[in-house]
Subunit: 350 residues, 2 copies
């Protein structure tokens, strides 16, 4: 039986799991398909994170640095697990680069895939250059370039953020809610108002889901301190009148059609299941849940159990998730994996 | 330096932390102010839990049994911590029963207090016996007595569930969202329809916050399979016409006053900060956040850090929280505490 733990994916959940295990003396093999660690917040260039307000490059970058400098963590970059053989306490993972890893347990922290707005063509992405995604706006902020219309580089005077792009939308096969886009959009709206105080920012929503304490910090603050405007609406289409983008829809509070011009339209894109999930499921011999995320058991036993004993899952691999909860789940999975490899062999075999 | 960890509170977060630590060989002192372990799900008699659908008495009861039978966990019932002295690695807790506990680190899993509907008098609780809370409905279900009007024991033909009672309500000093009441209410609505197929169930809401994968399992299923009806409304008051309860308000989608009679009205009560928090903060020398929950640092370091080093916090003690996330946070805090007591003394002192 080997005491090492295999962690797959180096986003917030995987980094948290790897660090937690290393800090109690457990060796970790961390496998990341990209060359760079950090997951979506780093690879997609997020700006200030919800709810800490810290820059992603500092907050998640710090988690990366901590793991990279830890001698107990062996990082395998640019590769993936092709097959997991063996049993709890004695797994063997075959990597795509030909290497092989022995591990007592495995934690999948393989994350999600951003919804591709091209799959919602009537809302203008791909047709009009000034229709962008929340991820692109994050990049405008984190790069220091600031909020600019891609078409001509001007500062927008009117920006609309459309919620639920690729979420709560059965027409395109995505009926789930992506959980954090409402709050992220409130945050981005305030960032835009902070940089461009004369810019008007509107959020088009179905329900505002700034749950828990996000209510105060994001929903109320964005309205009262930052004067962000909220419109409960069904958006029909985003077109152009030649000069401005035009959002056509129905205000569902006053039951009237509304047509409003904007300089920039932002899609608050949802969290799809990782496009690699079918391959991951096959490699690890685990089951996906009906939407295509990695299935997990109930939380009362060893939190984050997949359908295969000894293989745990954490974070947005299991469904839309916040960064904070991904980190908590990463550490919880680390704890479950640690308990598994700590137990005497007879118990593991039982 | 002692390797034992003090865990305060035996709800889902505390039970998860205690079990996790014990399963990797760490001794735990678990302090619970009540005589019975299990926290709100057990003490308040919850029925089937979100999202597993398992009965609270089985799911959380199983967590209780696992901890009570673990020889590494010493349970101190019916008492609280009066003072925590010392420093990380060498704390000493003085209990209200006169006992004293040595611990390397402490985890606060002290939970929340249910909102008392008496503080929203215009919505009829305390005036009309058939105005009840979600907790009372959970008890009707978990006790096996079934959904009955308290006034005369009849089966209700029309039930309304009012969301955001003690949440998102600045008039009564509670501007936060309680995060899980929307989903719990969808679940209860389906339970009522399951038991009483002829009963009409309405949910009065501001925003429906069935975030993430709850969207499918609760929001869609309750409407399509269980025919629960949703009304976006501002509720003004709950009165009686002598025979029925009457909800008066404004339908905010059609902007019209609506007055509808019901047999039973259910308050979806929110999660207040634990009423003991000021005392807990003083005993542990930690700070509360502005709403009165226990303050915590950002998640990127040792998740669940309070303002005092070596004292961690998990679950609804930090704000409205789901049971699953409370469990994850309990295990994450266990991991952080374990790392702290595992480190060599020189590092701890640094």
């Amino acid at each position: 039986m080997t005491g090492a733990i295999l962690v797959v994916g180096a986003g917030p959940a995987g980094l948290a799991a790897a660090h937690a295990l290393a800090s109690v003396g457990t060796p970790v093999a961390l496998v990341e398909k990209e060359q760079r660690l950090g997951g979506a917040p780093i690879l997609s260039g997020y700006a200030k994170l919800v709810p800490s307000g810290e820059w992603a490059k500092d907050a998640i970058g710090g988690m990366v640095a901590r793991v990279e400098s830890n001698p107990r963590v062996t990082v395998h970059r640019g590769c993936s697990v092709e097959k997991l053989d063996g049993e709890p306490g004695a797994f063997r993972a075959r990597l795509s680069n030909g290497a092989s890893i022995e591990a007592g347990a495995a934690i999948l922290a393989t994350g999600f895939t951003h919804f591709d707005s091209i799959n919602k063509p009537e809302w203008g992405f791909g047709t009009y250059p000034d229709v962008v995604t929340t991820t692109q706006v994050e990049q405008m902020i984190s790069s220091g370039r600031g909020i600019r219309c891609p078409s001509d580089g001007r500062k927008p005077e009117r920006v609309a953020i459309l919620l639920c792009v690729g979420s709560r939308d059965r027409q395109i096969g995505r009926e789930w809610c992506s959980k954090i886009c409402c709050t992220v959009s409130c945050n981005i709206a305030m960032e835009i108002r902070e940089e461009l105080p004369d810019c008007h920012v509107y959020i088009y929503y179905m329900d505002i889901r700034t749950f828990g304490l996000y209510e105060t910090k994001y929903y109320w603050q964005s309205q009262e301190e930052y004067k962000v405007k909220y419109i409960k609406a069904r958006v029909a289409e985003v077109t152009s009148n030649g000069e401005k983008l035009v959002i056509k829809g129905e205000d569902t509070l006053v039951k009237r059609p509304i047509t409003i011009p904007f300089d920039m339209v932002v899609h608050a894109i949802g969290m799809d299941p990782n496009v690699d999930n079918p391959r991951i499921a096959a490699a690890f011999g685990i089951e996906l849940e009906p939407h295509g995320y990695i299935g997990k058991g109930s939380a009362y036993g060893a939190l984050g159990e997949t359908s295969r004993r000894g293989v745990f899952v954490a974070g947005a691999a299991t469904g839309p998730e916040t960064i904070d909860d991904s980190i908590a789940q990463g550490k919880a999975a680390a704890m479950a994996a640690l308990a598994l490899v700590t137990q005497p062999r007879s118990v593991v075999a039982a």
